[in-house]
């Protein structure tokens, strides 16, 4: 990964899609993202992973919030719910509660997830709702044209931080690990093959899986998170990283200057649906908790 | 008058009611509490016979509207029995364990029916006549044209007898030493008055002492005499005069004989305690004795006078005037006792 990868362009991707036969998972709508946006590779990775997992479009629900990343469902051929700013996870929880058989994927940007929606993350994670949450983190508010986000670096200058951002950026991986997410991984838009693998693994995980995806904003951030900078920063997780070891995962997550790609943490534990089924069984048998 | 004084009047008969209204008139700023064991607001006991004339709803017996106590800012404590009085600490304790302080206390608890020792064990077979509840029970036990046997026959009983006869009932009077109580009369007068009662329709039994009462089928009661003879009636009612109800005063540090001993101003031996009505014995300088004064009117006047004296007056009650009993122009017994 020494080579900074070039941006992915729509025309090239469409050619690729046709060649690979993934059209089934792309909607007829053309993405509204800026040319070169990292999100194209996410749409691509997502459709590829669904294909790989053999999920039918009608059994998949993509739920998103508000922001550039949250436009995602419109470009996917699956059931989609473009909801409110920050409310992705509770809506996705409701969808999953209604029908355990659905593959539910929640999608949002860093502002949607960690600013307005931050309160929901720990609860979806600790309940282990069997959904996948993919956060496309470009460290900026793109849809409103370039304000700081909770993951913007210190010193970042934007229209709302003309004298430089003084707020310490959030560490999303630490937050999700602390909140007991049962699968935590990180990928990079500039590394689409790895991204696809990670998406497929996250969706396949039984329980709440969190995939953090680093991405540039090619339009509003020309200085900090460029493909060039990110490409130089990211690294693989150490080969001997134990994904069952929470403390090791946290230790890796603290190294924010050299973000690692891969699966930080994984555990199997009962999902919300398992808990609900257990409650229903006890209720039918008339067993009240003491 | 000094603001904030707390007057407590125990007993809400005509003496107590007269006292609190007088107290309020003379001391607008005082706190006034009227205590009674009755569950009803004030009615005159002498109105109870009206029950047999159809006044069966107690609300129509009330002497005043209940709201008058609110208007006069008098706290009316009904259904409340005083268990003891601490004359030094100036507190009283209710049987429900509430302790109430007072500055000046007036006791006018009246008298309870006296019962000769031999009849005490038959109490449950007799009907009293002190309260509205009593009147109701008598009326329920008494069929139309039923017979009432009056034992003793004090002036309260004879008052009831007049009404019972008027309302078509039959009355047997078992006369004895308490007949015409509290009047003190000689044998000749007694005979004359009994004759008048006979003429008025009362079946008078004399010279026989009741010793037992039995329940029976119909009529419901039998009164047995010393000589094993018996008479039957629906209801048996004892009227042997009254005894002051002063048990709770025993420990109060007040001089008592049968009743509470008071001076002519109705003050007891305790600086803060007065008494009025059937409960007190008033000192007569003239007669050099403590004496009871009875009769509806006396009782009311005593209550009012005590209240005036509690609020600064120094009036004396006239204890010499006896009240008369006789036969009026139409041949009926007439007594000052009944004067209202």
């Amino acid at each position: 990964m020494n080579e900074p990868l070039k941006p992915v362009y729509l025309d090239e991707k469409l050619v690729e899609i046709r060649a690979d036969g993934h059209q089934d998972y792309r909607s007829k709508a053309l993405p509204t993202w800026c040319p070169g946006c990292g999100y194209f590779s996410m749409a691509e990775g997502f459709t590829q992973s669904l294909k790989r997992l053999g999920r039918e479009p009608e059994d998949v629900v993509v739920v998103s919030g508000i922001g550039c990343a949250s436009r995602f469902p419109f470009f996917i051929n699956a059931y989609g719910f473009h909801t409110l700013h920050g409310r992705t996870l509770p809506v996705a929880t409701g969808v999953k509660q209604a029908n355990d058989a659905l593959t539910v994927v929640a999608v949002g940007g860093d502002g949607d997830a960690f600013a307005i929606g931050g309160g929901h993350i720990p609860h979806a994670a600790r309940r282990n709702v069997d959904i996948t949450y993919m956060v496309f983190d470009n460290g900026i508010y793109g849809l409103t044209k370039g304000q700081t986000s909770p993951t913007s670096v210190l010193g970042f200058t934007t229209p709302t931080t003309p004298y430089a951002n003084g707020d310490e950026p959030l560490n999303p991986l630490m937050m999700l690990l602390a909140a007991k997410a049962s699968w935590v991984g990180q990928a990079y838009a500039g590394n689409p093959h790895h991204l696809t693998d990670m998406m497929a693994e996250a969706i396949a995980h039984r329980g709440f899986s969190y995939l953090h995806i680093l991405s540039p904003c090619v339009t509003f951030d020309k200085t900090t998170r460029t493909y060039k900078n990110l490409g130089m920063m990211v690294r693989d997780l150490p080969a001997d990283h134990d994904r069952r070891n929470l403390m090791a995962a946290m230790a890796e997550a603290t190294k924010v200057d050299r973000p690692a790609l891969g699966v930080f943490y994984e555990e199997e534990r009962p999902t919300l649906a398992d808990v609900m089924d257990g409650i229903a069984e006890r209720a039918r048998k008339g067993i009240a908790a003491e | 008058m000094s603001a904030g004084l707390h007057y407590v009047v125990i007993g809400a008969g005509s003496a107590g009611h007269g006292a609190v209204t007088t107290l309020r008139a003379r001391d607008p700023a005082a706190r006034i509490t009227l205590v009674t064991m009755s569950r009803l607001p004030f009615y005159n006991r002498f109105d109870l016979p009206r029950y047999f004339r159809g006044t069966t709803d107690w609300r129509n017996l009330l002497a005043v509207a209940p709201q008058i106590y609110d208007e006069l800012a008098i706290t009316l404590r009904r259904n409340s029995r005083v268990d003891e009085i601490d004359g030094r600490a100036r507190t009283l304790t209710f049987s429900h364990k509430e302790v109430v302080g007072y500055d000046k206390l007036l006791v006018c608890t009246g008298g309870g029916g006296h019962l000769p020792e031999v009849l005490v064990e038959y109490k449950s077979l007799m009907h009293g006549f002190a309260t509205f509840e009593d009147a109701t029970r008598v009326a329920r036990a008494l069929p139309a044209k039923g017979r009432v046997i009056l034992l003793g026959g004090d002036m309260i009983g004879l008052d009831l007898a007049r009404t019972l006869i008027d309302t078509g009932h039959r009355v047997t009077l078992v006369a004895g030493e308490f007949t015409f109580w509290p009047h003190r009369i000689d044998a000749a007068k007694r005979a004359e008055l009994l004759a008048a009662l006979s003429r008025a329709g009362v079946d008078v039994v004399t010279g026989r002492t009741p010793v037992a009462i039995e329940a029976a089928a119909k009529p419901a009661r039998r009164v047995i005499f010393e000589d094993d003879s018996a008479i039957a009636g629906d209801v048996v009612m004892p009227f042997f005069g009254s005894m002051p109800l002063v048990d709770f005063m025993l420990g109060a540090g007040v001089d008592m004989e049968r009743g509470i001993l008071v001076d002519p101003r109705l003050k007891s031996s305790n600086e803060s305690i007065w008494a009025a009505g059937d409960v007190c014995q008033i000192w007569s300088d003239e007669l050099k004795e403590y004496r009871f004064l009875h009769g509806w009117k006396n009782v009311r006047l005593m209550g009012e006078l005590a209240a005036r004296n509690m609020t600064g007056a120094a009036e004396e009650f006239d204890v010499t005037a006896d009240f008369a009993i006789g036969i009026d122009a139409s041949g009926h017994v007439q007594s000052d006792f009944w004067e209202q």
């Binding site: 909607s27 007829k28 709508a29 039918e56 479009p57 009608e58 059994d59 998949v60 629900v61 739920v63 508000i66 419109f74 699956a78 059931y79 989609g80 719910f81 473009h82 909801t83 409110l84 409310r87 996870l89 509770p90 809506v91 996705a92 929880t93 409701g94 969808v95 999953k96 509660q97 209604a98 029908n99 058989a101 659905l102 309160g119 929901h120 609860h123 609900m276 229903a280 006890r282 039918r284 | 569950r39 009803l40 607001p41 107690w58 709201q67 609110d70 404590r77 009904r78 259904n79 304790t93 209710f94 049987s95 429900h96 364990k97 509430e98 302790v99 109430v100 302080g101 509205f132 509840e133």
Partner: protein, 596 residues
């Protein structure tokens, strides 16, 4: 009101078994065939031993509200009861324990506060309980027995209720309580009754065997369950919490799911998520929670997702008066949120109405593809009424959309149709794949901000709801009392309508020409029923428990007709006398008639 109409009030602390005594009383009366309406007041604070009052109105004819003045008052704790003893009417009864454990200062006993025209009854409940059960804990049953004995109510009926109440406990528990009750009964039966309260037996043939005592919240839960609710999401908030609590117990028994979410936003978000996925999903909250939910309501409106939200109002704004009743969230329920977001709002007026509205809400939400709010209030949430539940569930089963077999091409989830109702598909269904959004969209659900599209879509969302005012099996508005032209009309909504009815009938007995109408569907407003009512009334009075006249504004704004407002925000239900006085003031009395 003819025949028996007696209101009992039982006051004590939470530890005295106050509510339990009231509960046995009301259930027994209902089982005997009386009509019962009851309201319990619990401690406002989190203390275990705060004040409780249980008020139970027992009548032969249906009563519509509690009476301002109780006929019989039982104190199980004088400190709590003393401030309330004044509510007993003249010649009514005050019953209390006359043997406290220790000496108490002047004024601490209730007998110091009984008004001269009220009748005092003292008995030593504590001692009797101790004597027959070995401790004083059953004194509430002794006291209840005393009331039953005093008024000659049948012992057996109470025994049955006590047995049922303690059915899950050891048999000895029932025996102890029955023993305590009987001892109290004997004491009460032997007392000389002096008050003028009469408990005549229920009419021959009155059958209470199927009658149940239910609160508004309880009936709401029953309605949701009878409509086969699948999922419930909630966040605790007074006075709606008991809905969630009841469902937490009952919903899993039938395989349903109740989830306590992290806040009200999540609760409605998950409800809408589940509704989108085809479930019958509901949430319940109060005003502050609804305020948080309004953004999601807007999403539900524009994305046309069915959802049911039960809102039990309390005093506001903000945290307001959490334990007091009020009707001040009408505006929020009807209008709350950004943009034009008309939704269906139902406001039942009594406990049975809670059942009907909660159950039919799903039917409406599914048919009209919209959020439905059932708007009640604390007074209705917590008050008990006798309800005879229908033997057959009266609600339509879930309408499962079916996209299968449709022709190819993109699914037009928001297709324009004659009635504004578009075909619906739910995730998992082949051929119906689509994306919905809070953005204005075209027929396919894709973002579209063209002027004509927004105009058409706004009209579609508005017009499709109008048919809800004529939905079968639902009373959206109803007139009571005299028909035809009247002098004074009283228009009301929610729990206050009980007091309105009592006041209207009282005014009618006084010879005032009047009539009342309840409005159950607040949005869309059933103008076709309300307008003729206005035509028939010389003047229309709108009594409601808010300060701004929210229904008054809604109705007069929609109809363009004037109304007279009667607004009260005391935290308590509106008093019948207050409404009656206003009716008298507005009425053309005989004097006015003569002058004319």
């Amino acid at each position: 009101m003819t025949g028996t109409d007696v209101q009992f009030a039982i006051c004590g602390s939470a530890g005295d078994g106050t509510i339990a005594a009231g509960d046995i009383l009301k259930r027994t009366m209902a089982a005997m065939g009386y009509k019962v309406i009851a309201f319990d007041i619990y401690p406002a604070e989190i203390r275990g031993f705060g004040k409780c009052i249980s008020r139970v109105r027992v009548s032969i004819e249906q009563a519509y509200s509690l009476k301002r003045r109780s006929d019989v008052f039982l104190s199980l704790n004088d400190a709590h009861a003393i401030p309330h003893v004044g509510e007993v009417r003249d010649f009514g009864a005050v019953v209390y324990d006359d043997a406290p454990i220790a000496t108490i200062p002047e004024g601490a006993h209730i007998s110091a506060h009984i008004r001269p025209a009220q009748l005092p009854y003292g008995a030593s409940f504590r001692q009797i309980s101790d004597k027959v059960t070995g401790n004083a804990r059953a004194r509430n049953l002794v006291a209840l027995g005393y009331l039953a004995g005093l008024y000659g109510m049948p012992r057996d009926a109470f025994h049955k209720t006590i047995g049922r109440k303690f059915a899950t406990k050891a048999a000895s528990v029932t025996q102890v309580n029955v023993r305590a009750f009987d001892a109290g009964y004997d004491a009460g039966a032997s007392v000389f009754k002096l008050d003028d309260v009469v408990m005549a037996p229920p009419p021959v043939g009155a059958d209470g065997s199927r009658a149940q005592m239910m609160t508004g919240n309880g009936a709401t839960v029953r309605g949701l369950l009878d409509a086969d609710i699948d999922c419930f999401f909630g966040y605790p908030i007074t006075p709606a919490t008991s809905i969630m609590e009841r469902l937490a117990t009952d919903l899993p028994k039938r395989g349903g799911r109740m989830l306590q979410t992290e806040d009200e936003i999540s609760a409605i978000a998950a409800t809408i998520g589940a509704g989108y996925a085809g479930a019958r999903a509901a949430t319940a909250t109060s005003g502050p929670g609804l305020a948080l939910m309004t953004e999601m309501m807007g999403l539900g409106v524009i994305a046309e997702v069915p959802s049911v939200t039960i809102v039990s109002q309390r005093g506001g704004p903000s945290t307001g008066l959490p334990t007091k009743t009020e009707q001040s969230d009408l505006n929020l329920a009807v209008y709350g949120g950004s943009g034009d977001a008309q939704r269906i709002v139902l406001a039942p007026t009594n406990v049975e109405g809670c059942y009907r509205c909660a159950g039919i809400a799903f039917e409406l939400a599914e048919k009209f593809q919209t959020p439905v709010i059932v708007l009640i209030d604390l007074y209705l949430s917590n008050r008990y009424e006798t309800v005879i539940p229908p033997e057959v569930k009266p609600f339509a089963p879930k309408a499962i959309p079916d996209a299968a077999g449709r022709s190819s091409g993109p699914f037009k989830r928001f297709a324009f149709t004659d009635d504004g109702l578009s075909p619906r598909a739910i995730p998992g269904q082949n051929g119906g794949v689509h994306t919905i959004t809070g953005l204005e969209h075209n027929e396919l659900g894709r973002p579209a901000d063209q002027a004509d599209n927004h105009q058409r879509m706004s009209r579609k969302r508005h017009d499709k709801l109008l048919a809800a005012t004529r939905h079968p099996g639902l009373t959206v508005a109803k007139r009571f009392g005299r028909t035809g032209k009247v002098d004074v009309g009283i228009l009301g909504w929610g729990s206050t309508f009980g007091e309105i009815l009592e006041a209207m009938y009282a005014a009618e007995r006084e010879g005032i020409s009047c009539s009342a109408m309840k409005v159950v569907m607040l949005s869309p407003l059933p103008v076709h029923l309300i307008e003729p009512f206005f035509d028939d009334c010389r003047i229309v009075l709108v009594p409601e428990l808010n300060h701004e006249g929210q229904l008054a504004h809604l109705v007069s704004g929609t109809l363009g007709r004037p109304v007279v407002r009667l607004d009260r925000v005391t935290g308590a239900p509106m008093e019948v006398d207050t409404i009656l006085a206003e009716i008298r003031r507005l009425a053309l009395g005989p004097a006015a008639g003569n002058a004319a």
